[in-house]
Every structure is written in C-alpha cells, then in structure tokens.
C-alpha cells in the first residue's frame, strides 16, 4: 500500500510540473539567467498555434479552459473545436468561414459578431487593438493546411477510474462480507440503528428513521435525484469518514458472527505466532475477496504487521475487524 501512495504522490508532482508546459520564464540567451520582469509567454509550435496565440488576447477570456466553447484552452482544442470544424472555418474559403464573418460583425448564426461587446474584432483590428489583423486571418484561412491527423482516440494520460457511488459501495461491502446485496435493509450495515438508505429508494417504507438513514447515505456521497442533488464525484473527507465508520461497524458485526466467508483459511481463535501461517493465508484470501486482485508478499506483510497484529494484541476479533476495515478503505475497494 505504501508503494501505491508513493506512486500517486510522484504522479501528482509530475503532472503539476508538466502542466507548466511552455509557459515557463524566458531565458536570456546570452547570460542564461531569467529575465526578472519577463512576462510568461507561450511559444508556437505550428502555424495554427501562432494564430491561436495571437487571437488569444482578444478571445481567450471567454473561450478558455472550462468554458462551453474552450477554443483557446490548448492547440488541440483550437484545432479540433474551431479550425477544422467546417461550421466555423472552411480551409481555402475565407468568405465561407463563419469565424471570419463573426469577427467582421457579419455572422449568420446565433452570434452576429465576436467579441459580443460593442466593436467587432475587425474594427478593433483596424484600431490596432488586436494582436493580429483581419488580412492575416484571411491569409491563414486561405492557406490553411490539412488537419494534423491526430488520432481520434481517448487521452491515454487521463485517469480512467472513478469512485464507487454510494449504492455500489454498500453492495460491495455486503458481498465482501458474505451477504446478499439487498434493497432497503442491510443487517450488517445497521450501525447505530441507521443503515444507509437512498432517499430515492424504491423500497422506501414508513419508517421514522428514514431521514437519519438518508443522511448516512448522503454522507457516503450518495445522490438524491428527487432532491436534485448529484452523487459525489470524488471521495471527500466527509465520505471517507462515513465509510470508515460504516466499515468498522459492518466488519465488527461480520467478524463477531464468524461469517464463514471471512474465515476460510484460519479460525477466529488462531493467534500469532503459532497460527501465523494460517493467518497469512487468510489475509491473502480476504485480500483477493475484497479487492479482486492477488496480493504480493509485501501486501500481506503490511496487513499482518501493520494492521492485524496490533489489533490482535487486543483480541483476534479486533485484529480481523481491523483487517476487514482496512481492506474496505483500500483504494482498490473504493474505486472502480
């Protein structure tokens, strides 16, 4: 587990570094020292990119990253969303390009002009208020090259996972502990008399504890579409706290009942050091059952020494409850 944490931290650092991209400080070519007051500049890597960077001072604030039309978020966004979309730009035909028409205040679509405020781009360009002239833009469209042919594939660097939603994680806990996933009633999850329940549940009944149960569900990040609240997209401090308490309660109950699925390789009465081999085997069994992944020896060492053994010092039941809880809190359990 430590390896995973270290790797994720390194990944975050790399992504932060890579995100600076080309926007670093300009280096003085003669002395190799940073210019103290130099603005952060970007460098163009292609003709299209040069146009993007020269339009950006006028257009970027409304069409940057995160907007409905993020044309200027990146070169790929500029090319994919604007330059090679024939609704906006028709290569070789500036008069047929809606982009130029809008910049000239002659748009034929929803927007008659760009920018939306008083003077269209062309007027501003005539006043010298823009970083590129209309003539240069027409020339660029006239001589527009072919699309780069970027493959239409998913971004391989995008994180391809998600958290389990509240309903999924409730079902996952039940299955891991050997129970059938049920609708409204979760005996193992009945922690403090308030097992989580979706406020939208199709099994709602007249139960005065429902609001409290719905609150636990909401703390797990669950949605209520009836109330137009969305599911939590990421595990938050609140939902991690809630899942910890829920896992501890459910695991404690399951261990106390000696649920057979939890004790395949060891008995609840096995203790260290005599029972170490059986306990290790049972830890491996539970790791696979909960996380759907084969553990390494280091994973079992960590579970045994860092989780089970301190708990067993109190009682074997405490040790196994700790193991069960740790596995439910593992990212492999909580993520898709």
């Amino acid at each position: 587990m430590l390896r995973r944490e270290n790797a994720m931290a390194a990944c975050a650092a790399l992504l932060a570094w890579a995100a600076t991209g080309c926007s670093g400080e300009i280096t003085n070519p003669t002395r190799g020292e940073p210019r103290a007051a130099a603005p952060r500049l970007e460098c163009a890597v292609s003709d299209n990119d040069a146009i993007r960077l020269r339009l950006q001072p006028t257009c970027g604030s409304c069409h940057g990253a995160g907007t409905s039309h993020p044309f200027f978020a990146s070169l790929s966004a500029f090319e994919d969303l604007l330059v090679y979309d024939t609704r906006f730009v028709v290569g070789g035909a500036p008069d047929d390009s809606e982009l130029l028409r809008m910049l000239e205040g002659q748009g034929t679509g929803a927007y008659a002009q760009m920018p939306l405020d008083g003077a269209p781009f062309a007027t501003r360009a005539e006043r010298g208020e823009t970083a590129i002239t209309m003539a240069e833009l027409r020339d660029w469209v006239t001589n527009l090259g072919e699309a780069s042919g970027r493959p239409a594939v998913p971004d391989p660097a995008a994180a391809s996972t998600r958290r389990l939603d509240a309903g999924e994680v409730i079902a996952a806990i039940q299955l891991a502990l050997g129970a059938e996933p049920t609708g409204a009633h979760h005996p193992l999850l009945d922690v403090d008399g308030t097992p989580p329940l979706s406020p939208d549940s199709p099994t709602l009944d007249h139960d005065y504890r429902n609001p409290e149960r719905a609150q636990v569900y909401a703390m797990l990040g669950g949605a209520s579409y009836l109330a137009q609240t969305r599911p939590e997209e990421r595990w938050s401090p609140s939902s991690v706290t809630a899942i910890t308490q829920l896992a501890q309660g459910a695991c404690s109950r399951a261990v106390a009942r000696n649920n057979p699925q939890l004790f395949v390789e060891a008995s609840p009465s096995d203790t260290l050091p005599d029972g170490e081999a059986a306990i290790r085997a049972n830890l491996a069994r539970l790791y696979t059952r909960f996380l759907h992944e084969d553990p390494t020896d280091a994973d079992i060492d960590a579970l045994l020494n860092d989780v089970y053994a301190p708990g067993e010092a109190v009682s074997p039941r405490t040790g196994w409850t700790h193991v069960c809880t740790a596995l439910i809190r593992d990212p492999l359990f909580l993520m898709f």
């Binding site: 670093g24 409304c62 409905s68 993020p70 939306l116 391989p156 996972t161 390494t296």
Partner: protein
Amino acid sequence: MRLLQSTLTVAVGASLAFAVACDEPTTPLRPGDPDAGMCETPETTPEPTVEDVAPVSHRRLLRRVHLTLHGRPPLDEDVSALDDATSDAEREAVIEAAIADGLESPDFYDRMVDFGHWWLRNGAFVTGAQGDAYMGNMSAHLGRCADDTAHPGAYFLLASLVDEVGIGERTGSQLCTEASPTTRTVEPWWAPGTSVVLLGEAASEASQGTTRGGDPVACGVAVEEYFNMQMQGAGCGCGPNAAWCYPGHGLHIGNDRPGTQRRDMWEEPARLVAHLAWHDRPLSDVVLGNYTVANNRVRAWYLRFGRQSGLPAAALDGNDTWFRPDVGGEPRDPRHPDAADPEAWRELVPEELAPQLLSLSGGVRSADPARTLAWNPVDDAGPAPGLPMAGVLTMPGPSSSFPRERPRAARFLEIFACRSFDPPPPDVHFPPVGEDIATSGQCMHCHTVMDPVAMTFRRWIFVGNYVPRPYLAGVGDLQIPTDLFEPSQRYPHRAWFGAGADRWRQNWTANTVMTPVSAETLAANPATLFYDTIPTDYTIFGEHPDGTMGPLAFAKVLVSSGELDRCAVRRIYERFVGRPLDPEREAGFIRALAARFAAGDRQVRPFVGELMRSPEYRRGF
C-alpha cells in the same frame, strides 16, 4: 499497482517529449508580434496510446463489468468461473460472457433508469401538483371504509375538510356505516381484473352534474378543495372504471414512496431512457419521440390532463382499455413481465389520453423528424391545436421540475447539448442592457443561446388558486382572455396572474429574440404572448429550425446538428466507462464516438457493449 506504474511511465514519457519541444524556443513568440518565430520542431516520439498501458487484471475487469451492468461486484459464482479458467483465452471468454449476459440482464435496465435520473436531473413532481397536499392527479379523492364497518374496503368520495381534518358535519366516511347507501361495483383502473365497491356519490356514472349555482356542468373534471380534489358538480361520481377518481387523498399521497403517482411522474423521463435502451430504440427518441412509457398511474395522469383541459369528454370517457396492461401488447419494462401487471411501464402515445399532446402521426408511435405543425398565435386564429409531443421536452415531470421557460431551456441545453451557463469573465465588457437581454448587456452571454430555445417552453403553465395545476396556455378551454391586462379585470382573471401574467408581461418583451411579436400585436391579443414557434431565420447550433411549433423544432435541431449525439456519448461514456471525456483534449474522439453512435442507430445497448470491450475500459487500477 502494475497498471499504475505503467500509467506513470506513459505520463513521464509524454511530459519529457513536451519539454524537449518547448525548452528553448529559437525566437520566443510574443502574442501580437507578427515577426515572431516558432519553437524548434519537437523531436517526435511515438505518442502513447491506450493500448500501451497495461490492462487491469481479469479479476479487476470482471469487477468492473459487474459494477457497470449490475451495480455491484461479481457474485462468488461469477468469480469462481474466472478462477476455473486456465488460459487467457478462457478468461477472456468469461469476461465476454459477463458483458453479453449483463447487457441482457434486467439489472441493465435498472442501471439505465439510474443513468436516466443522473442525466436528466428532473426533481420531485411538485410544481403544479403539490401544496400541502397532493392534487397532481386532477381526480376526485377517495377514502376507504375500515374493516369493521358495514362496507369494508368500499370507497367513498371525501367530503373535503370533513374527512381530511375533521372540520364540518357530514363526512364521506359516514357512508361506511349506513345500511344501504347507493353502491356500484366496478373494475377499477388501478387494479384491472378486480372489482371494488363505490359508495354514495362515488357510485354515480352521470356525465353531467350541477354547480352550486344550479348550472349544468360536465363531470370528469376535478376542482380543488382544501386538501383534496372533488368533482366540480353535485351528482358527479367516479365515472367509468372510476377513471375520474384516485384511490387515496391529498394528505396521504403527497410523497414519493413507491406506488404513488407523484413518484411515477418523477420517474417517467428516466423510465423512457431505460426503455429506449432496453428495446434498442434510438436514444434520440428521448426528444424526438411522440411517445412515452407509463404505468397505470401515469396513464391516469394523462387522461385527467386531457379532460382537465376541456377536451372532448366522450372519446376519453369512452376509452375502456387505457388501463388494461394486456391490451395492445406494447413493449414494456423487464421488471414487470406479467401481462396483467398495471405497474408495468409500457409504451404510450399520450395523445390517446391527452389529445392536446399532439402525435402528428395519427396516433402511431413515431420519432420521425418530418412530423411538423406550423401554427402560431399571430398568424393563426382560434385556440392552439395543442403542443407537438417531443419526448421529455414536453413531459409533465421536467416541466414541473424546471418550472419556467428559461430554466427549462437552460437545463435542456445542459442536458442534451452539454452546454454550461457560467457567468461571463469579469473583464469582458458588454453593450448596455437594452430591451432584449439576448442581444445586450451581460445577460446576452447566456441568453443569446438560451432565449431562442426558451420561447418554445412557455406554453406549459400552472394555474389554480390553491394548488396550481398544469395546463397548456391557449389550448382547449384555457384561452387567454383578450382583456387579461385590463386593470378592472385583474380580480376576475386572478388565476392568470397567479400563473404568472405579470411576469409574462414584464419579461416577454415585444420585438425581442424570445418574443418576436410587435407591441401592438401583444396589446391587441395577449394570446400572442405564447408565441412558441422558433422563427426559421434563427440559428441554433448552426442550423435553422423548420418552423414547427413548440419544443419539437428544438429537438430536431438537437439531433440534426449532431449536438445530441456528441453530448449523449459523453454522458454514456462518463457513466459506463468511468470518467468524463475532456472536450478540450478529446474532441476528435468525441466526434468519432458520436459518429459511431449515430451510425448504430443511436442504440445504447450495443454502444455500451462496444465501450466495455474497448482497451480504454481496461485501463485503471
């Protein structure tokens, strides 16, 4: 962990290549500097692809498949099947079987219902249905005799305050103890194939009653009373198959528990999404279709909506099959396979029960974009012919949840075109706000897009004095008075002002994008406020609408422009693959997915299967 390390390797490689390209520009390009040069041509290194990333293990993949299609990890027997496989080929076969079986499982239908709620976002059916009691059913409310009475289980008309809160003298429930009240045994709409006993006035089948003033009045139209609804005339009962009545009453049915109509009306849009996926219908039917899915309570809602609008009673009351699940053989949901189950969500062309929701197909199920109706209150006289049905865009649930025209437009643009309506950047200047917020002031940042769509959503309004109820303005007997804005008529027209007449006059300004009607015309004929045909010279998503009345014109543009496809694949991908696509980095991929989706007749099930069989689905940890 193996996968994470692989992912990390890819990220490092990509970042280093980027650094080489931009580390030392030969001539830094300063924005605005026409003489600026370029960076050195980047050293080309093969771009990593999804296939370069080590896939998750078969165990983890099986878990993903089951979470995607069943909402839970695999069962023990599912895991055992994988454990028993002895080669990668056999393991792949187990995965493939899990995908194929899962897509055919009713669990997939349930997942699509959940997807529908997540995607469509309409909340509880409250506006136009609920005050401190539920009146959304537009029906007379029924009480039921206790087991220890002379007529156990029989139904009686509630007597307003008396039965609800104990105020008054005569109670409907007194009938339960009378030895021989008038009775009628009927097969009720809510339980076809069974019979119930109606007592007293409830037993009446009269089609005409008498108002308090002694005037004749048509039965089958309910009026609001305190906490419940009643037939509007003395002598009126529950009608054929008790179709004018609802088995329950306002204080007790105003919740979203299963088995309540309020919940059903919230469910209807998501159920349609799931139905389209389950029956391999084009997902575009969700906005283009003239049909929906409905259990008996939703059907009852549409029937009452039809009568409540003053539409021909004889045909609607004469329909004696609308509540019979085994008639017609319409496709239904997989959770209610019993042919006689009134809970089954089965296809319905609402025009059959609510003629004001126009099918434009002679009542036949259709999502043909050629369906059209040209009508507007400026050029055409008389009452509006109705509103062309356009899937969820004309459904009661979303119309209630998004209760005014502009919020409806904003939500539907977000839902179906993936638009967002963020405030404009603070450093952007706009021309001074004028008469039209779609063309001036900061408001135009959003309203330029929103208002041409919003104009189509203005006809669905809520009218009433206690609990407002839904109507289509200008349709049926809800004609907009010509003297609506005469000061002396404000009190007689108070229901209109309760419905928003002041807001209409203030916000629906003449000669604007949303209300392209002259001030003179609006003053002469307030019905023209409800101009809901997008002019054909408007442009939406780069296309011109075809002049069809109402939201159907917007639906057609959503589909023909490709906006719906591009947005739908993003939402499906996010929900089933597990991450949102980034339109800034993956626009080409989104377009490619949308093209494949459209080429596959927009069928969700095979598209989800394709996504689940892709290398991207196997990436993660």
